[in-house]
Symmetry: C2
């Protein structure tokens, strides 16, 4: 399995609608499959999307409101049925432990081996390999973590410097592997002929009011998945409930220098998505207002 | 609100499919709304069915396998949002208490006031008014209760006997109310001029292998909702997993003298319902193989 994309499993906020299931976002990233915020019905949305549960390698929760986690038991039971050959770690804000423990034993039946990872709510790195996954606190009504996923920075060899140093063919491979290579009477090091380039990155920001950490999480990411529960006309309501408007989400994307912005978690009060798109596009042009079951390609920067 | 029908919210068994959500059956019976076995996604199926959560007056679980109960938290949160003016009792096999308690506190957020009623697994009557609701154990892999719902028997006045006894007009009303009425020098009692007639009734039988209690629950009911996970070609599989075939379900309906049979809880292995219908109809003609969101009228016997 390779390639990268975002499978949008649901786009509703508190209440689902006829066209929008509760949250669920599967970030497929080479062999990793990061499932964010499986709301109720995610198990079935996976079927509609044609994605096997074995594709899920980790579950990451932003917070423990029902629309972001009530699909966890069903997803786990489906995973148990499909018997993947890997354990599935579940990362979540530490104070949510009692809820996660209930969700992992919510009904009679088989649950797969899971590794519960309560994450420090001041922020933390939960893994470094094969992807660096980190969390920062957001500003919602309950403890909430936004997520950032990035490839480790990698050394790229620069052809003109390789030429100048006389490194050709298999010597370049040895240089990458060993950090240096002997060319005639001289040692050429990786630092001389390469540069460290950041890898691809993505962020998931929900639920939150406007806050600095939203921008930090999204700093330079290729793909930002962000809640946009409301429109600007409901800015006060958004603030009261710890949510974002489409304009605010777009502003976060602009300030962070993000690549593509995917808006989701739309309030049931809006019958269609046109206004969200228009409002966000005024601030940030590369925006998608997600529909259920949409597959958003991972932009190549 | 009046009238009676069954709103079928989901018809899948262990795994949902593109066309079949997990279980969920709302029996609307005048002012009562009995929600049986809310599987995952029931909250959204109610929206698809155009039924408000406030229509639910009780929840009844047959057992605590995930496909029969994982929708409970979502339904409860929806009820909390809609703020009905009644409490919602939840009836379930007593040994399922730990699961039900987890489901009623599965996420952060508002849950409505609920009354948990763990039901004795040897069988019990959970309420007498306005409907008599009773349970009997079935034969599944985990403790499971089938449900029977019936109107209390009521005295019906027989016109020819009223005439013979000289009871006319308002006297008939007083007779019904007081149990007797004075007509000239004679006391006429209700027993003399009326007869006790059983009320309408319904049963929900799932999940189970063939067993006597399935027939007892369904004895003379107007409407029998029954699982038919498999076809006759999988009779051994049905027995191994404590389930019914369409033929077995139809045989239960015939032996019980039921009115209309509604088959559901169909295994994902069957792409359509034609074979279930054909197999059951050979044994019991008044059969419906339910589709999601179908509204089945309550037959008037």
């Amino acid at each position: 399995m390779s390639g990268r994309d975002l499978v949008v499993l649901g786009t509703a906020s508190q209440a689902p609608t006829r066209t929008r299931n509760h949250n669920g976002y599967l970030l497929r990233w080479d062999t990793e499959g990061l499932l964010f915020d499986p709301g109720e019905g995610t198990q079935r949305q996976l079927i509609h999307a044609g994605v096997a549960s074995t594709r899920i390698t980790r579950v990451l929760l932003t917070h423990l409101h029902g629309d972001h986690c009530l699909g966890l038991p069903g997803v786990l039971q489906r995973i148990a049925l499909d018997q993947p050959d890997h354990e599935v770690p579940i990362h979540f804000p530490a104070s949510g432990s009692p809820y996660v423990e209930r969700l992992c034993a919510a009904s009679i039946g088989d649950y797969p081996p899971v590794h519960l990872d309560p994450v420090d709510e001041v922020g933390a790195v939960v893994t470094e390999q094969p992807l660096r996954i980190s969390a920062l606190p957001l500003d919602h009504r309950v403890p909430t973590l936004g997520w950032r996923v990035e490839e480790p920075a990698r050394m790229h060899l620069l052809p003109d410097r390789l030429d100048a140093a006389g490194v050709h063919g298999p010597a370049a491979g040895r240089l990458l592997e060993d950090g240096s290579v002997q060319i005639e009477d001289r040692t050429v090091t990786l630092d001389e002929v390469g540069e460290l380039r950041r890898g691809a990155s993505a962020a998931v920001v929900m639920d939150t009011a406007v806050c600095d950490n939203a921008v930090r999480l999204a700093e330079g990411v290729d793909l930002l998945v962000c809640e946009a529960t409301f429109l600007g006309s409901e800015t006060q309501l958004a603030r009261d409930y710890g949510h974002l408007t489409a304009r605010q989400a777009a502003t976060i994307a602009r300030e962070a220098g993000a690549g593509r912005l995917v808006l989701t978690h739309i309030s049931a009060r809006y019958p269609d998505l046109d206004a969200h798109l228009a409002e966000a596009a005024e601030v940030f042009p590369d925006v998608v207002v997600a529909s259920d079951l949409q597959v958003v390609p991972f932009p190549v920067s």
